[in-house]
Symmetry: C2
Subunit: 462 residues, 2 copies
């Protein structure tokens, strides 16, 4: 083990040093990948030196998600306290289903979930679990909503026509999960958004009424706290009133921005969250832990047991259900995704988590200001969001993002809203400062200035 | 980052040293947990020293899954090359959905899957993916089977009565997944096992015919390579002939022992695997990687796309589907679970993986021999398995396992088959040698001898 730890430390040292000078890794086209790198797996063992050489090459050419040039996904940066926790998880290697196998790590998971339930304002009746990503916490909420509405479905199979409501700006996992759960993709109603990319509650209510008239059974409303492109927050108060009127499960998908719950300044963006049935957040997004750290909180924990428990004598051999976390989880064997968030939270305190949230909004403000005050830019997003969407010199966003990537300048993605396609800058990496955000724009400007020929006919590209 | 890495290295050094002397961590009853350890999360930040103290205490009291006293789950040990890969995954923190975000790590995942497909004997039409555990790869196979049989279900919702077949000794995720997928728990037929805990193909065929007569649609047969308790292998050849006759999807759940595919000596246990539709294995079990490393291979990759792809412009911005792994995965954001298996495989070669499999069967042979040749023991399991099930002095297994655990002697679990309940020893940790297995029995014998009073009335406990 010691030798491998030494190799790990040396490779990491080299990576960190190189990242400081080269925030973007060498670009390797997918078609050239297997020629450029030694990825082959052979029959015979190889020497530790040969392994190290191939591994180092692989590590150094892997996209760098922790630097000030990575804005491509809804995560970024490298929080050292969270990394410490996750590295220890690897070494400890507990599976989280039982107290016998995970011991005190069960307490780690439980206290993190308890604290978030407390912040929501829920009592001891509430509980939660970890799943392997935001799509999966959305799936779990859909299954609970389905089972709450149609108790027979999980025993005898689905036969009723259930319907699900989500905004047209929500995450693609909603229709995917509708397919998985037997509800069906076509049973998902995409509710129009109105100002700032928020779901229109009037349209939602109208859709529910129409479905009831048609004999469908409205089952789940999936509201979003931080839509994938614009970072918009649906109006939970208004939607919750409708869900209560029609007895529909309300889930808030806070995968991207549910962590505003940690900030006194920004938690108003999810006002009313205590009234919902379930709420998810990804600490690997705004909280900067390594992937994945996805929390699902449920107001009435009985639903978690009803939809996810299963008897298995060979597994649950000691302690009660409360400490055998497998009774409320989607998975069976499950790595410890809680420890990384615990080490971070323990270290910086709830106030430290708050500061992270506040900083992200501050950086977004810096970016929006820049876009607003520079006439070559057009802003396409709104306040109260850490997604800053814009175009530069009316250049086609899709082409510009790809060129920046292929020239190893920046990793940033594009998105669209209505008819507009634009660059989406996400200020989620709290290791960034104002200068890093300003530098982002400067890199784009210099790249465009130096590569005019690449943009000769912007109008021909779409 | 450097400071946290130093803390990591120091804590690990301390852990490794302590593990060598104390293979079982201090037992902490779940009820005493929050008093014994400082798990609390506060408002204010704490000093690095305070964090370290609490963290070290937590690490040192966490169940030790890597030592020669852990036989409690279907995993164990600590493979240093796999650990190296997984530690690097944490630092690199790529999400595996797109080539743009994961780069060469996509190649790592692809080559691992390709090599396993090759070993199965499948052509370029086959493909695979990683999911977060064996329950999830089983879920994926069930969804593909459902969609293959009832193409409408994923669009309009399930309305047909589908049925699923699995042995009464199979994993509990099958009924759980039947609930999730809308098929329904009661639509699962638990097929009787005959000799050695294998599914009885005659009973299977009879059940299929009965369901067809009753108007059900047989959709999936879930065969098992390594049942959870006995480690038994269903007869894939015989079952596959039946599935072909009735046009039913055949999945082989090899979560526990599918890795016999790496051994020339033991792959006969899954003879016929090239004829099935999907096949899963957990490298975190027999291959000893950190949790989780769950592979699902599919003979016709079109089914993967049909059931799991989704358009998302904001996500898939460069490269084709083949390199954007999110198009065939259950999850969206997904940590890199492939690198740990790649570093191991790269280092030891396929022959090294074979040696690991062979050693596990060798150690099981040592254990079975011991049980057979010592008259105080009764054997309850069979050859060709790495689960060795037995009773000692007719002591109640449940009680004995719990006492060994609460006295920090050994972590081992019990199971049952028919009317018998017994201790299940799993020889999955290849860092163990013959002496470790013999020591396991010695610890039990000494514990029983020294604690006779605890076992005064074995017949009263059940």
């Amino acid at each position: 083990m010691k030798k491998s730890l030494t190799v790990f430390n040396e490779i990491v040292e080299k990576l960190l040093k190189d990242e400081a000078n080269h925030p973007v890794a060498e670009f390797i086209a997918s078609g050239a990948l297997f020629d450029r790198l030694d990825l082959e797996l052979g029959e015979e063992p190889i020497s530790d030196e040969m392994l190290r050489e191939s591994l180092e090459d692989l590590v150094m050419t892997t996209p760098r998600t922790a630097t000030n040039a990575f804005f491509n996904q809804l995560f970024g940066g490298r929080n050292d306290k969270a990394v410490l926790g996750d590295l220890l998880s690897v070494l400890l290697n507990n599976s989280m289903y039982t107290y016998k196998a995970a011991g005190p790590q069960v307490g780690v998971e439980k206290i993190v979930l308890r604290k978030v339930c407390d912040l929501i304002g829920w009592d001891e009746n509430s509980d939660g679990t970890f799943a392997s990503g935001g799509s999966m916490t959305n799936l779990m909420s859909m299954l609970m909503a389905r089972d709450a509405k149609d108790n027979d479905a999980r025993y005898h199979g689905l036969s009723n026509k259930l319907t699900v409501y989500t905004s047209e700006e929500s995450h693609y996992s909603v229709p995917k999960n509708a397919a998985f759960s037997g509800i069906g993709r076509n049973q998902v109603r995409y509710i129009q958004v109105y100002k700032f990319g928020k779901m229109d509650p009037e349209v939602l209510e109208y859709a529910i009424q129409e479905d009831m008239t048609a004999g469908n059974i409205p089952t789940l409303v999936n509201a979003t706290a931080g839509t994938t492109v614009l970072g918009a927050f649906d109006d939970i108060e208004a939607i919750s009133a409708i869900c209560q009127r029609y007895d529909i499960w309300l889930h808030v998908d806070g995968a991207y921005c549910g962590s505003v719950i940690f900030s006194n300044r920004y938690r108003h963006l999810i006002r009313g969250v205590e009234k919902v049935d379930s709420f998810s957040l990804n600490a690997h997004k705004m909280m900067g832990t390594p992937l994945t750290c996805s929390l699902l909180m449920v107001k009435d924990k009985q639903y978690l047991y009803d939809s996810f428990s299963n008897d298995a004598d060979y597994l649950y051999q000691t302690d009660h259900d409360e400490f055998n976390l497998g009774k409320t989880s989607l998975q069976c064997g499950r790595r410890n995704d809680a420890l990384k968030f615990w080490t971070l939270w323990k270290s910086v305190g709830t106030k430290g988590l708050e500061a992270m949230v506040d900083k992200q909004f501050e950086l977004a403000e810096v970016a929006r200001d820049y876009v607003k005050t520079h006439s070559n830019y057009t802003l396409h997003s709104y306040d109260d969001s850490i997604s800053v969407c814009f175009n530069y010199k009316d250049l086609p966003a899709r082409e510009l993002c790809t060129l920046l990537y292929e020239h190893s300048k920046l990793l940033v993605g594009y998105g669209s809203f209505g008819k507009e396609e634009f660059i989406r800058l996400v200020t989620i990496n709290v290791q960034n400062d104002k200068e890093d955000i300003l530098n982002f724009f400067q890199v784009i400007e210099e790249f465009v200035a130096e590569n005019k020929s690449l943009f000769l006919k912007p109008s021909s590209v779409s």
